[in-house]
Symmetry: C2
Subunit: 324 residues, 2 copies
């Protein structure tokens, strides 16, 4: 296996070389712009890593990796329209720099381009790869819909939340690893273990994301701390706090959720203190460790050289403990 | 071959039986709602007809037919968001009945469901079918983008317009016929002739649509006459009128395009009279006949029983001359 950086270089080179048509410019420029915004590129790297570990050709897996990264970027582009977001990775979002119609149509185009990359795969697993890709896409739309539904509800349970992030975020990491294994022609047991590892890795990853929004280091996190708190976003932390707060704590939490005049500083400090007092920070750390352990266990059961296992385990540990 | 109505019954039954998941309701209800709005169902019927004519199984072709109809409805749903349209087929559009975010996300879901139907196909042409579907989708997005670009330009040529409607509308009819032939395992010459016939049929169909907006019978057209005129929509008629009008005619056309206080009745009557005087009505009829003739010629070259040829030719003649 190569290093993360070596896989990343392959992906970034392939993304830079995607041959977009010259015209209509208004359709393809936003796609190239969004794909060049960067990001961690975890999903396409996972495709290449799993393919390599299963003895497949990394070159052949690049198409599936590009398909999954293009798909991921399509979901971000449409999410930014739905959330009316101004900034993505420190740059102006497509629907702000161009307009909402451009973001919708360029996003649609990205979904079809992603499908074209997935469809390029030949051989006996090509049907399984396409079916996995489409099933995962449907799950992600469902997750996004649940996320929007939950913003309207005050009685979301922890189980509902975990299932929502499983759909919205985690299955795509499972899909990435499984796709790499499918491209390599790995046997079914290994293929399914990669999926299981990826989904649990994704859950730990998303829960860490919730946690970093509150306790992250502003220097390395890249976003302003407390965005979820300011938006009353129903994260793992808030859902648990709403479940656990009693008496004065419940009154205080209700106050922060409903006071439109609270300053950012006061609200973030107040809610963070409540999270600490209610033990919600600890619950998040335990949940992250739990899903990370499940990911590690799945990687350990895959039949592959020990040093490859260690590479995957180091990566999931890093993502679960990441500070950016 | 069966009658159009018999194929239509198969399609309508299959659409009514699509097994949407129960939840999230906000995601799937708009899809079922939009698919039930009706419409002519020309595209899925073309899939079944071509498959049947080439000796394939109509039952097997239903998946491809549903995929293409689902795709077509996805484009309408997103187009309605982009055009801010209130009404589709006499009913409230999805983004008005629900909201724009629902229309975006349900539309995305429809595109993936459509791809799933296309991916169900087995056998030696399954790859060709998926590639055709994706290529056609990209062309349709490009056509939509050109259409939006042209609304901002005053110097659109007739050739540019024909290429735009070829992409936005006609290739999907070509794709439908070709898909049916591919499902049937028809030989390559016939497959390509079906595509050629469908694209020309689609051009005649769209030009007739432009023409009906002005000279259609309000009783049968289903939409109010003159919508394109009121919106200064750059149709085949307006582009030719802008090209041909000289002197007083040019002044009058400019007046109608720029007078925000013109009543609907005056503007529609005035522009229609200009179209007649400039010979634009005649040009449209000639163009429709031209593309319809090309479609008929392509159908005639396909190796199939004469009565099947006659069925396709009767349909293209009907669509080119349709009054609704």
């Amino acid at each position: 296996m190569k290093t993360f950086q070596e896989y990343l270089d392959i992906i970034n080179k392939a993304i830079a070389e995607i041959p977009y048509p010259e015209s209509p410019r208004q359709l393809y420029e936003p796609i190239a712009y969004h794909m060049a915004l960067g990001g961690k590129r975890i999903r396409p790297v996972l495709v290449l890593m799993a393919c390599d570990a299963m003895g497949g050709s990394v070159d052949v897996a690049v198409d599936a990796a590009l398909g999954i990264e293009m798909f991921h970027n399509f979901t971000l582009l449409h999410d930014d329209v739905m959330d009316n977001a101004d900034v993505r990775r420190g740059k102006t979002t497509v629907h702000r720099r161009w307009n909402a119609n451009t973001a919708i149509l360029s996003g649609d185009t990205m979904l079809t381009i992603a499908t074209q990359y997935i469809a390029r795969m030949d051989g006996r697993n090509s049907r399984a790869l396409m079916d996995l890709f489409n099933k995962t896409a449907i799950e992600i739309y469902e997750g996004q819909q649940w996320d929007m539904d939950y913003e309207e509800r005050d009685n979301v349970t922890v189980d509902e939340y975990i299932n929502m992030i499983r759909l919205k975020t985690s299955v795509l990491l499972g899909c990435a690893l499984k796709s790499g294994a499918l491209v390599a022609g790995a046997d079914n047991a290994n293929v399914e273990l990669f999926y299981e590892a990826g989904v649990n890795m994704g859950l730990a990853f998303q829960l860490r994301d919730d946690q970093l929004d509150v306790w992250g280091d502003p220097e390395t996190f890249g976003k302003e701390i407390g965005g979820d708190i300011m938006n009353n976003k129903k994260t793992f932390l808030l859902i648990n706090a709403m479940r656990l707060a009693q008496g004065d704590d419940a009154d205080e939490l209700r106050h922060w959720l409903n006071d439109p005049f609270a300053t950012r500083e006061d609200k973030v400090r107040g809610v963070t203190a409540l999270y600490e007092r209610l033990g919600v920070r600890q619950l998040a750390e335990e949940a992250i460790a739990h899903y990370n352990d499940l990911a590690v266990a799945a990687f350990n059961r895959i039949v592959m050289p020990d040093r490859d296992k260690q590479a995957f385990i180091a990566l999931t540990n890093k993502l679960a403990g990441r500070n950016n």
